[in-house]
């Protein structure tokens, strides 16, 4: 498996929406490279006939009865929001300017 470069870290940080300062990219890259080398052990096991397991308790389609219950009021749901307007979450602009 391949190593992880500063450019990779910058790309992944962008995908994960974390603005890592350029001067810190090298430190993260070397730490992540060491971790990736260590976890590469997983490929040393023969898993050719092994099914993947995503969860300790296999369950499918866990549904509740479709009965209305008590839920948060708009005021409660918005109580922790950094910015609110007209009973809605106020967000920064989502489109580029023309």
């Amino acid at each position: 498996m391949s190593g992880i470069s500063q450019e990779d870290v910058a790309h992944l940080a962008n995908l994960a929406r974390i603005n890592i300062p350029t001067k810190e990219l090298g430190h993260y890259a070397s730490q992540l490279d060491a971790i990736l080398n260590a976890v590469a052990v997983v490929s040393s096991l023969d898993t050719s006939n092994v099914a993947a397991m995503s969860h300790p308790v296999p369950m499918t389609n866990v549904f509740r009865e479709d009965i209305p219950g008590v839920s948060l009021t708009a005021e409660q749901a918005l109580s922790g929001a950094p910015a609110v307007e007209d009973e809605r979450f106020r967000v920064p602009r989502i489109l580029d300017e023309e």
Partner: protein
């Protein structure tokens, strides 16, 4: 120092229900203790004096009225700051949630409140439960009451420290890879990670959803069982909750009879890499278990050496997805929103300012492991290793009733020692991680002090899914012998804290 703080939870509950001592007196004694020692220990991020005294007063009203009380009514508790509490701050040890006050209670919290348990406050933790030392808390580390220069374990170091510093007889932790058991081991307290699905995760801020489980922390096996019985049970609000009866952990904790049981020592969890004093105390426990009439055999779990690696692919992958919601849009702090920046820029600045380095490392790692081209080699392969680990446990439990190992490879290390060496830090959980991977219940029980540093050592007991009662039966049998040998609880040997 009030002697109320040294009493067991079960004893306190008895004093309160009989009216000998009021719940308010009990709460106040613990609040005084917190005021005296928590400056040095820093187990709590938030102390809710007003709320604690109010819920204690409510218990006293019930006592006076002769109402039926739950087994732990009036007993104080420290709550890990990862469980949502209506009206009380919930930070997960992160700046990104500093000041956030949830509008609802986690199911565990609802159950605690209904049982009349007095929540003293929220305990410190590694940020979003990522760590084994509590040093990754954005609000400063917690100190081990046995030696304030050492770590109390993590991520639930605040919960283990508040129990072992006599700030609370009970605490709630959460365990994703060992965050209840390893802190219990290094502080000389008892901690249990219940079967996955045995305790509701509703309102528990998710780190890795397929691994996380809340559980009880206390100073002895019976108190741990009592708290376990309060928080366990099916919850329709958690789709992974198991809809079957809660194992009778209280009876098991009172029984403590292991005659005729088969106990397996996991060959791969011990030996090289484990501190000499951890190994010698573990070997003594094995001899003790045999002397109590159980049969001890060695069992091999050949895929366990790869468990740590698989865990550090699965956990970051799930965490990178779970933590995407902390973007400063719907709750928490927002950074850089000056009216000119796009939502992506604001999210990126918010997350960079709000997350510490360990959280950033794991999000990046998870994003990498899930990316196209690497998914099969990393995340997919780790999931197959997870199956092998479960198969190893299945084969072992076909031969034995419980498995044992040391809980952690070393005793408590010095604060700062491993902070910038993630791989060294990850090794602390090498013996506890396989249990989470398979969703099994596990206990850490204090079994003595390592001769070379006089710090506590923990024994890990592992049982099959939904056989949590076996942990308490085995734990109680060993504890009874050790208490007789020591002449009292191991925490009696911990140094007195300044200010107390």
């Amino acid at each position: 120092m009030s002697d109320l703080i040294r009493k067991d939870a079960s004893e306190l509950a008895g004093l309160v229900s009989s009216g000998e001592v009021s719940a308010v007196e009990v709460a106040q004694a613990h609040l005084d203790r917190i005021a005296a020692v928590d400056g040095a220990v820093h187990a709590f991020l938030h102390v809710d004096t007003k709320g604690a005294l109010a819920s204690a007063a409510a218990v006293d009203v019930k006592v006076k009225a002769g109402d039926k009380l739950s087994v732990l009514a009036g007993v104080p508790l420290g709550l890990k700051d990862i469980l949502a509490t209506n009206g009380l701050p919930t930070t997960c040890g992160s700046k990104v949630l500093a000041g956030w006050i949830p509008p609802y209670d986690a199911t565990v919290v609802t159950k605690l409140r209904e049982a009349g348990i007095v929540i003293l406050g929220k305990t410190n933790m590694d940020e979003f439960a990522m760590g084994s030392s509590t040093e990754h808390s954005a609000f400063g580390p917690t100190h081990n009451p046995w030696d304030l220069e050492r770590i109390p374990g993590g991520s639930g170091g605040g919960s283990s420290a508040c129990v072992s510093a006599f700030e609370a007889p009970l605490a709630i932790g959460t365990d994703t890879g060992g965050s209840i058991r390893q802190p219990a081991a290094v502080t000389g307290s008892v901690g249990v990670k219940p079967t996955y699905g045995g305790v509701s995760r509703y309102g528990l801020v998710a780190l890795a959803s397929s691994l996380d489980q809340a559980g009880p922390c206390a100073r002895n096996v019976l108190d741990t069982a009592l708290l376990h019985s309060v928080i366990a049970g099916y919850d329709p609000m958690d789709s992974t909750s198991i809809n079957s009866p809660v194992p009778d952990v209280i009876s098991a904790a009172k029984r403590g009879d292991i005659k005729g049981m088969k106990v397996g020592v996991v060959k791969e969890l011990g030996g090289e890499g484990y501190q000499a004093g951890v190994r010698s105390r573990f070997d003594e426990s094995v001899a003790l278990i045999e002397s109590l009439g159980a049969q001890v055999v060695e069992v091999s779990c050949p895929s366990f050496p790869a468990a740590l690696a698989a865990y550090y692919l699965i956990l970051p992958s799930e965490a990178s997805s779970n933590l995407a919601k902390f973007d400063g849009i719907r709750f928490g702090n927002r950074v850089g929103d000056d009216g000119t920046k796009s939502v992506e820029q604001v999210m990126s600045e918010t997350r960079a300012a709000g997350f510490g380095p360990e959280v950033i490392r794991r999000i990046i790692l998870g994003t990498y492991a899930l990316s196209a081209g690497y998914y099969d080699a990393y995340y997919g392969q780790a999931q197959k290793v997870r199956t092998l680990i479960k198969q190893d446990f299945d084969a072992a439990f076909a031969k034995v009733d419980v498995l044992i190992s040391p809980t952690a490879p070393t005793t408590a290390f010095k604060i700062g020692e491993k902070l910038d060496d993630p791989l060294a830090m990850y090794l602390n959980d090498v013996a506890t991680i396989p249990v989470n991977m398979a969703g099994l219940p596990g206990m850490s029980l204090p079994i003595g002090l390592a001769p070379e540093d006089n710090l506590p050592v923990g024994l890990q007991i592992i049982a099959p899914a939904m056989a949590d009662d076996r942990l308490y039966n085995v734990g109680a049998a060993i504890e009874r012998e050790l208490l007789a040998k020591w002449g009292g609880p191991i925490l009696g040997l911990a140094p007195e804290l300044a200010g107390a």
